[in-house]
Symmetry: C2
Subunit: 612 residues, 2 copies
């Protein structure tokens, strides 16, 4: 069993593909963790912005959180419509493609790719932060821990074991219960637990609070709303009646997430929590509410677990999106091929590399990723709501006005929010998203153009012609007369209409000697010697083959004799002239390059006297 088989598992047969039908509660675990787990960084993102204006600004946390929860409610209502309209799964790409056309759908796809990658980076960073808050000595391993987590997620998903609502349910329920319990204890507690009293870095003294600050805090907090769309994408996963179950899950998600966001915000104000580089806000709130006892560790560890699972959902989402784009010829077709474990392994690897690059670039700091986050998701929200409005307008079923009004309101709100994000967070990182999304869009277009042209070139106009044989000249590069030469010339004689041996020599004497030896042998194949003034063997051969080619009419096959050693490392002992020649000839039109292997024998002991 090879290393890769041990790591990734044996190849699976087609019919071994997993099928799972989930209920409403499992839907919460399988499709909503991205949204729910943002409680771990959303409120903190608001506080991080507000604290720059001093301690007084922190009381704005509550109204801003209320605004965010209101937007959440609007989104939930909007997506309940989407679920009804697209029971086959209504991702922003699909909805925009059907209703707004190719251009909008590609923008949505680009935005989603960026956001899936950011979701992994943010969730992993926040998961590690939850861990290091609980165990401060781990703080200096922040980056390695993040890399390790991504590596584990990658391997799990390459094995194809990544999607499992049922397996995710227990940790999800534990975490929801723990957070609700913590909030309840915190609200009824007479005062902050001493272990968490007045935590965090003291804020600056300045107290000017402007509109811009409020908008920036709101934009940062909206990172908590990412993932709300995931249920609408995954309707087909639900057991029948799928639409009803999916809607129930969506409502549950909205209720739980809204309550949690408000609860954490209220406790953060109550316990005077201020953001700190060493501890997350959720950790400080928890410590103030329940102390740093066993319950604190249940909250912290289940938070890490849930964030890791949230990152995992991107690992199923992004590869599927890439495979849809590959099917539509917008990304390399290779993304549409499943690997041995029936997963889109190339998409998984691309996602892992992107997330790792982000994590390492910001050294695992969640707060540095937040400004880039949410723009992509909100672009997707806006486009899919706009698509829904167009859809209502086109079909106009009973009650279409109410539906269109709701989706229109959602489109407007999320569109404004997107504009606010770009405007307020541009310098802190949003510029990267503003740069990457249009670049991806242009790349999709460019790739699509290539495939369209390729198809036109390969397409046969009318019935395919009967393939006809052509005269073929087989050229064999040789160096000396050895068993390899004899075998290669035998192949050459078998294959073409005519065979020709070519040798590169460095002096007239060398050439004459080889020609004389050749004449004595008389193999029935003509020898051409090429005198080279330079050291390169490859260049004169390529030039010679090109000159034959330009003669035209016949097909040229270059047959390169090649020794294949038994052990791979022994390859290093052969100069790779054959492979180099093959690579150099790839640029030539109308030349078929063949490598004729001569396998070296297992018994490699020479017959006699090897020891000196």
């Amino acid at each position: 069993m090879s290393f890769w088989t041990a790591l990734l598992g044996r190849p699976l047969k087609e019919r071994e593909a997993a099928t799972e039908s989930i209920g409403a509660a499992e839907g919460l675990a399988a499709l909503s963790l991205d949204a729910l787990s943002s409680v771990a960084y959303g409120p903190q993102a608001v506080l991080v912005v507000l604290v720059t204006a001093g301690a007084g600004a922190l009381r704005l946390t509550l109204p801003i959180t209320v605004a965010i929860v209101a937007l959440l409610a609007l989104l939930v209502l909007s997506y309940i419509q989407v679920i009804g309209a697209y029971p086959q799964g209504g991702g922003a790409y699909a909805v925009a493609r059907e209703n707004l056309g190719g251009g909008a759908s590609l923008v949505a796809a680009a935005a989603l790719l960026v956001d899936y990658t950011l979701t992994v980076a943010v969730s992993v960073a926040a998961g590690v932060a939850a861990l290091t808050s609980a165990f401060p000595p781990l703080l200096r391993f922040t980056v390695p821990l993040g890399v390790l987590l991504v590596a584990i997620l990658t391997v799990v998903n390459l094995r194809g074991a990544g999607e499992s609502g049922r397996a995710f349910l227990p940790p999800t329920l534990l975490w929801i219960t723990a957070v609700f319990g913590m909030i309840a204890v915190g609200l009824i507690a007479p005062h902050a637990h001493p272990a968490g009293a007045s935590s965090g870095t003291p804020p600056a003294a300045l107290e000017t609070v402007g509109v811009l600050l409020v908008l920036r805090a709101f934009a940062a907090g909206c990172s908590a709303l990412t993932g709300v769309e995931a249920i609408a994408n995954g309707v087909p996963l639900f057991a029948a009646p799928a639409v009803r179950r999916a809607r129930t899950t969506e409502v549950l998600l909205g209720a739980i997430l809204g309550t949690m966001l408000l609860g954490v915000a209220v406790l953060a104000i109550r316990f005077h929590v201020r953001p700190s580089p060493d501890q997350t806000v959720l950790s400080m709130v928890t410590a103030a509410a329940v102390g740093r006892g066993w319950f604190y560790y249940v909250v912290s560890l289940s938070t890490t677990a849930v964030l890791a699972l949230a990152a995992n959902t991107s690992f199923s989402g992004l590869p599927i999106l890439l495979s849809l784009l590959a099917r539509d010829h917008y990304v390399p077709h290779a993304f549409g091929l499943r690997g041995d474990r029936l997963v889109y392994n190339r998409g998984i690897v691309v996602l892992a590399l992107g997330a790792l690059a982000l994590l390492v670039a910001v050294r695992g700091n969640t707060d540095a990723l937040i400004p880039m986050f949410a723009i992509g998701v909100f672009t997707g929200f806006t486009l899919s709501q706009a698509g829904m409005v167009v859809r209502w307008w086109r079909a106009r079923p009973a009650g279409w006005r109410a539906g269109a009004a709701l989706n229109g309101l959602g489109c407007l709100a999320t569109g404004i929010a997107t504009a606010v994000f770009v405007a307020t967070k541009f310098a802190e990182g949003a510029w990267l998203v503003v740069l990457v999304v249009p670049s991806l869009y242009a790349l999709f277009r460019r790739i699509h153009r290539y495939y369209t042209a390729l198809g036109a070139q390969l397409r046969l106009d009318g019935p395919p012609p009967r393939p006809e044989p052509r005269r073929t000249l087989v050229v064999v590069p040789v160096r000396t007369i050895s068993r390899l030469t004899v075998a290669a010339l035998g192949d050459a004689k078998s294959l073409g209409s005519e065979a020709l041996a070519v040798a590169v020599v460095w002096s007239a004497e060398e050439g004459a000697a080889l020609e004389a030896e050749w004449a004595r042998w008389d193999p029935g194949v003509r020898l051409v010697t090429l005198r080279s003034q330079y050291r390169s063997v490859v260049r004169p051969l390529v030039r010679f083959v090109r000159s034959l080619e330009s003669r035209g009419g016949e097909r040229v096959l270059v047959l390169i004799p090649e020794l294949v050693p038994r052990r791979p490392w022994e390859q290093l002992l052969h100069n790779q002239l054959g492979v180099m020649l093959a690579a150099a000839l790839r640029g030539s039109r109308d030349v078929v390059v063949a490598l004729a292997p001569m396998h070296l024998d297992a018994d490699r002991r020479p017959p006699a006297a090897e020891a000196e």
Copy 2:
């Protein structure tokens, strides 16, 4: 002009190979810099060891230096004999090979490879230290400066401009004059210049001086003797009478190096110089002798220049040694091939990588490299002196007893020194050399065994047989019926006795549809469909080809149709099934793999409607 051509220069013709005949003074610049420049780190190496036993131990510097200079004199006399005996160039490898047999010569070769690499690392580290001593703000760029210097040396030598005694002469003479001038001023000065008074870190108080300490200091100081053998290796470079000129250079080298070593040692004691991590001993001695004025900077900068040139000599030595080993089948033959610029480019790259690894591992600290240094050179010294003794004994010319006695004494002294090095510096780094040299020896043997067996397999016993054509079956993997398929089947019909198309399908329906389409087309080539239960396309094809192979008798040619896009990046848009299949089939005996390219046209705009 490509990037590489711009960096490394255009390819050279054979007859453009440089030829240079040098005189005695130029011999000093071309062949002795490795030895001479060790004044920059040899005395410091002695002080670094002695200072661990307190300030009092430093007075041992002079007797130890006298012992080192005595050994130098013995080596110079020994090598004068070697020069006479081997006017064609008497490297340790050649002398040991002729007189002591293959085993000893391989040990010498392994030791020399290690030492060439260490010479580059030590010279570069010391050169950077000379520079940072003069310009302390550069201190934190120690590692990048070292890497830059190695990179420059690599490029210069890959261009083939590395060897030039004439060009090296001016900086060498400037440096020798400057150091002698500094020593003279230092000796006659009434007291230390205030700029350099009592420099260096104060030593520890402990004052126990044992035999082991003296031996360790002696061993460290012997690093100053590396490179004494280089003139004997390069006798053919000298103009006639080459032996006499080479001997003059050897004597000059001994006199200059001995005087410098003694001078620096005397001044170091006189000015109470103690080693420091921030400044070299030579820099402190110079500052104390002449102050930190212009003359100080002349000494420092010419020291850096001379050390860089000393590192450069390894760049000509190691690749030549590797080419000799390649000719004798002890290292991969590729090391025996000259590149476009007529230099052994692979050897240059290997040396650069080895030196970089050492430099980075010790973070550019010369003192950390010294314990590894010299063991290799002294092993070479010992073996070549032993070889000379054997040679005297075998030929017994007039006066052979005196010659044998001298070389015997040299052999004994350097042999003892080698043992002392290994014993005293084992824990500080010598273990690495003790590990690497035997490993290299074993590797040489292993490679030689491989090539011997290979030769036996390729050699024809008796006159070569006439190559005979064989029945050939051409197998073409196909996926759909397109222009590519038509072209590939045309090639297949041209090449073999029989052609066969193979397609991998994932369902019975897919297979039936393709077969029906094939029957309508009727290309005159049979189609076989392979039903795959797994996702892999490559595995079923390989299995099918292997099954044909085992049928025996006929030769199988697998003709893989392949699209070649016009621009390299477009390659990414094609899944590399062809290349993967070719790689997977390399393991099959008796199968020729051919890639039949179909070049995509320059005009890639499709005829119509591309925009959606």
